[in-house]
C-alpha cells in the first residue's frame, strides 16, 4: 500500500482502514446501502456519510478551513442524526464520490503544508487531539468502529462479510 514517504504513519494506517471499509461496501446495491434493519436507526450509507462528515471536520474545520463537503451533509450524517429521520435518500453517488476522494485531498493538502494550525479538540477528559496527524490517527479508530457497525448491518441482511 503505497503512501508518499513524507507522510506520517497515521496516513498509512488510515489507508489500511479505508481498504478494509471499501471492500465491505463495494458492490452493494442502493437497496442494501439504504436498508435499516429492525431495531436499528442507521444504514450503511449513514455510516459512510457519518465518517465523511467526521473526517472533514477533524481535518479541515479544526485546521481553520471551510467544510470541504456540502454543509447539508451535517444534517443528514452528523452527530446525533439517524437514517430513520431522512425525508428522502441522499444522493448516494455524490456521497460516495466525496468519501472516496477525501483521503487523496487530505494527503495532497498535507504534503502542500496546508495543515499548520490546529484547534485542540478534547476527545475524552485528559486526552486532546492537537494536530492533524493525531486527528487522522483518531479517525482510524472511529472508522474501525463504524466498520464494525457496517459488518452487523451486512449480517442482518444475510450478506457475506470479509471481516478483519
Amino acid at each position: 500500500m503505497a503512501v508518499a514517504p513524507q507522510l506520517p504513519l497515521a496516513f498509512k494506517t488510515f489507508r489500511i482502514t479505508r481498504f478494509h471499509l471499501m471492500r465491505e461496501v463495494e458492490g452493494l446495491t442502493p437497496e442494501q446501502m439504504l436498508h435499516i434493519p429492525e431495531g436499528r436507526d442507521d444504514n450503511i450509507l449513514w455510516n459512510v456519510g457519518h465518517l465523511l462528515c467526521s473526517l472533514s471536520r477533524l481535518t479541515y474545520v479544526f485546521s481553520g478551513y471551510d467544510l470541504p463537503i456540502p454543509k447539508a451533509y451535517l444534517g443528514l450524517f452528523g452527530k446525533d442524526t439517524t437514517a430513520t429521520a431522512w425525508d428522502a435518500a441522499p444522493d448516494m453517488d455524490e456521497v460516495m464520490g466525496h468519501f472516496i476522494s477525501l483521503p487523496d485531498k487530505i494527503e495532497q493538502d498535507y504534503v502542500a503544508g496546508k495543515f499548520t494550525d490546529y484547534t485542540s479538540l478534547q476527545i475524552v477528559p485528559g486526552d486532546n487531539i492537537t494536530s492533524v496527524e493525531e486527528a487522522v490517527a483518531f479517525h482510524c479508530f472511529h472508522e474501525g468502529l463504524h466498520i464494525g457497525k457496517i459488518l452487523t448491518l451486512k449480517e442482518a441482511m444475510g450478506l457475506p462479510v470479509k471481516g478483519g
Binding site: 500500500m1 504513519l9 497515521a10 498509512k12 494506517t13 489500511i16 482502514t17 481498504f19 478494509h20 431495531g39 436499528r40 490517527a137 482510524c140 479508530f141 472511529h142 472508522e143 474501525g144 468502529l145 463504524h146 466498520i147 464494525g148 457497525k149 457496517i150 459488518l151 452487523t152 478483519g164
Partner: protein, 64 residues
C-alpha cells in the same frame, strides 16, 4: 482474562519503551497491504480493536 486484557497494553508500552521490538517480521495482510514495522502493527491493532468495539456496540444495542 479481563486483567490480562487490561494489562496487555501496559506491557506492550513498557516493552516498546525498553526497545524490545527491534526485529519485526513483515506481515502480509493481503497482497496489497502489509505491516512492515511494529509501529504499523500497533496502528493496525487500533483498527482491529475498534472494529470489535463497533461489533460490541451493535450487540449491546440488540440486547436493549
Amino acid at each position: 482474562m479481563k486483567d490480562r486484557f487490561k494489562n496487555q497494553m501496559n506491557e506492550i508500552v513498557a516493552d516498546y519503551q525498553a526497545g524490545k521490538f527491534t526485529d519485526f517480521n513483515k506481515i502480509e495482510l493481503t497482497p496489497e497491504v502489509s505491516l512492515d514495522t511494529i509501529d504499523e502493527s500497533l496502528g493496525f491493532v487500533i483498527i482491529h480493536e475498534s472494529v470489535h468495539i463497533g461489533l460490541a456496540i451493535a450487540l449491546k444495542q440488540r440486547l436493549g
